[in-house]
Assembly symmetry: D2
Homo-oligomer: 332 residues x 4
């Protein structure tokens, strides 16, 4: 019997790491969690005059961590995001000093001054499905499709580590991939008892690669169904949609993120179809899609994906996505 | 008045570099060229027993170079690929020793032995629009959509260089991007008098990133309309479709290919819309798409693209794509 | 008045992260700490038949963390390693599956099988200053100079993070640079109250880049003098020898580790000499040395260094190295 | 009988590519060639007011190519640089827009403006062995050791390519490594009949990595003894000194240059000592040195080296270095 758990994050301490925190609540496999996440600025950037370096103390708060009853290292956590709806009719973006792909950074260090820090405010119209861009140095405006997603979803990392929520890695974290939309199921390997998952960093939309380093950041209403697949490991974050299987790699340089994601998709294909390894490599080579999530975070992310119709084999994770989709649908 | 030029490459010497060759023919702006290209194996790999390292002396022959009357350094060459049709009902792919993204290579050198060299033969059905995959170690087969493209299109490079047709760079070359389909216009900066363009390396289809290093290679019938934009430079290869503007970067590591392509799309956007630089950066950050072409060649490629409807400004290259599209249509 | 603190790590829990641990002891600025570190295998690999993947549960234990009285974020911790002497007459090395520079890895993922896991046992003769290599597949042996160093020295990271001791980053950690010898002073920026420094991973010697991923690993007797420089920040780890100033960068790809280290050395030069920024850039360009520490860990390291005689300016950190050197000498 | 060939490059056309040129002269194995090379600016930058982007049309002219009688693909060319002496008492350096390691570049593209273009003029005192630096924004001066080297040495590349002299790769070229001093022997694999070697780009000295992108550039008097090793291939450039064997890799990202150089040194060690592959990997891991040559050119370079005394096996290339050293000595 499905439990609906409403979690009110207000009043609690914001969380800025995966790992290193006590759980804020407990959920059971089969539960559906409803909550709200703040944007990556903790809501402190509200006008184009609110420069993030001046008004923010920390970045990318997440809601959680949640303890999943029965989760143990070696299991896989499935999070089906049944609904993601912007909680505000505005979103913020910015150029941030020495952050982003078209600037030198902390690690791609140069002697050049940073680009100007500038803030953009977008109008969000959930009904119309529109995000409206306004130029800052002219009166150019344009409507872009609303395409809500969560930038950050993860579990506590392995090895006793605690990682900043800015970082994506094998534990998930700041994946910043537009593929993480409502209607998808995220699979994450469990590293610690209880899994301790958390999420945040809602985006009204983002381009592939998040080139300036900041998406259209907004608070988000989140409905997520939780499942546990016992005794099945998942080496890197995966996403399942109704149509596609998606593997995510997080690393630098970017070709390593590509390699990880393609390697995972090839071996996943072997597992689902029984194809021999190089035969699967060949099939993914011709049928696979690939794109960057972010090319700005401490690790870059890329995803590899394939149409499920091509892999006429066993359903992934014993049909978990389909079950969670139905469970979530039954609650509406 | 449009001239239709039929070029028969048979009998000529195959060409394996951009630069370093005398032109095989002359074309004028406004001409339409019809020819046929061999596959990257020069047609020598025909069965799954034809291992490329045994049956091939060289790889990736191109047709050309063609001298464009009036082309000078500082101009832009526009090549509108009106038609790309596989010239055979079969295509070949392979794993090639120490080549591809999921193997160590010549430069990502390791002490591990190479993966097995193996060949796959695909059936191509142009009418049905299907490419059929056959596993080598089981009886698994699956139909993939036919999606013909040219892997290699370029001009003679700058600075007196001659570059292998395996290499993509600012002069074009082995871009290996599935975006280079029929119906698109490729823009290339001219480096030498006559431009000296050439093309080849037809793919019945390829995945994004061409992960194993080899697509579904096939001979291709090509119809291409040629135009020259005088006095307009193009720093990196660009593609225009009916709906999108696409910038291509070629470099290692992969993030540099990403940076080049996004930088070019941002500055192109500035030129077309009059947006201030950071305003354009912001817009591309939220509205842009990105994907790898190849992650296996001596330079990796990525493209950045944006919907033309978002940039409600002047048409790119004074409407060249639209004109060439109509010219090509008039010939059918 | 200098306190000599003897710390016996036996009996305590081994520590595998920087951050996330309570201090094991407290030291005051001016104290000298004497202790012993285990090797990266925790001493479990003793013969060539002890394969690390079979006999080890975890890797790279460190001694600590030590709380430095008065240390606060914004200060710099100085650790002068007065003595590093191997505590055993043997050391171990290994090839470790999917770890090292000449193999595919967890992130540079390929479909190739790993290299063979193999162990080498070295004889260490402290008196003679020799490390003796023995081939495993022939009777080739050769004596190499003993050159003891610590692979891992760091403080608790910023932002509430806890990082595996396998990782080098701005907080120090697994720098794996042969520059970290006896007689040098390491400078680390303090991120948390008490600094919480720790160290371990003794190497009898290692090549530049630690290409196979494992040095000549051995237990080490360590004498370290501790100082605190209040109100002075240090962005990346630095080392001072009698003759040279050394900046260390940790990142991927390797050019970013290079950029960080050179950037730090250039700006450090500006601070010590009053040279204008580009003048300092020019001087370092012609006078600077550079080399890799490791090209195998989760972040690669490189160092940049310059002869102190070239920078005829103020002594670094107000002469801390010289003071600690004298203090340590006075104890002998 | 040794022939001494004096080549006067004045009056000839400067050469800016490896490959694509007819030979300027013929040499036989055993000949000694004496000539002079211009600096990378072709001598056009003489005062601090001569900005390279204004006074230069092209960069990095080389002397050659020279046809080596009897050289064929599959052979190795040995060039022993018996003498390298600056031909002027001054040398020039510069920051060049969007070139160098601590700036964004053509390929590491950012939206930041370039650093200021600035020129430095050094005094060179060959007798005293000194290069004198003068700051541009203060009266700071300092003497650095004179350490003459050639930045660029190569042969015509394989596959019909012609490569800019700015580029280092398997054919040599713009290696920009300070290891290429007088007294060393460079080994290069021959790709075309006659080898067609050329050299230039003298540096009075440079730092490791050439971080600002430009060394202390100067014209150079060059004496080089030429030898041919028939039927022996050399995959990447190698250097032999009296004491060390050095392998050079050229690639991006920098870790690939590292991998290539270490891989070559490991397999070279196998060839000379008969050590099994992983035993050689282990030995190089502990005994090898590594450093960057350049981290600014289109390919980065790193070298790996090992003390010849450690490899108590056969002399490299059948003692070629020793023979050429004696031959050159006999001419003084």
């Amino acid at each position: 019997m499905t439990r609906l758990i409403r979690h009110d994050p207000s009043g609690g301490q914001p969380t800025y790491t995966f790992g290193g925190h006590q759980p804020v609540a407990e959920v059971k496999p089969g539960d559906v969690l409803v909550t709200t996440t703040e944007d990556c600025f903790g809501g402190a950037v509200r006008t184009v005059d609110d420069l993030p370096t001046l008004v923010c103390q920390a970045f990318n708060p997440v809601v959680g961590p949640f303890h999943v009853v029965g989760a143990e290292p070696g299991d896989t956590l499935a999070l089906h995001f049944a609904d993601l709806t912007p909680a505000r009719d505005w979103g913020m973006s910015a150029t941030f000093p020495h952050f982003g792909a078209l600037t030198s950074t902390h690690t791609t260090a140069t002697l050049q001054p940073p680009l100007e820090e500038r803030v953009w405010r977008y109008d969000i119209d959930v009904e119309a499905g529109i995000v409206r861009y306004h130029a800052r140095r002219s009166d150019f405006t344009v409507d872009l499709p609303l395409d809500p997603m969560l930038g950050t979803v993860g579990v506590a990392p392995a090895g006793g580590e605690a990682r900043s929520t800015i970082v994506p890695d094998a534990h998930g974290g700041n994946l910043d991939t537009p593929e993480l939309r409502a209607g998808t199921t995220v699979y994450l390997g469990v590293n610690v008892p209880g899994a301790l998952f958390a999420f945040g960093d809602g985006h009204a939309r983002q381009g592939q690669g998040e080139v300036c380093g900041v998406a259209v950041e907004t608070a988000m209403r989140v409905t997520v169904a939780v499942e546990l697949i016992k005794g099945v490991t998942t080496p890197w974050p995966r996403i399942e949609t109704d149509d596609r299987l998606i593997s995510i790699g997080a690393a630098r340089p970017l070709e390593d993120a590509y390699r990880i994601s393609q390697h995972d998709l090839v071996t996943w294909t072997v597992g689902l179809t029984g194809l021999e390894l190089l035969d699967a490599y060949q099939l993914v080579s011709q049928a696979g899609l690939a794109a960057p999530g972010n090319v700005c975070d401490p690790n870059y992310t890329m995803h590899a994906s394939i149409d499920k119709a091509i892999l006429s084999g066993a359903p992934a994770y014993q049909g978990t996505h389909q079950r969670l989709r139905e469970l979530a649908g039954s609650l509406r």
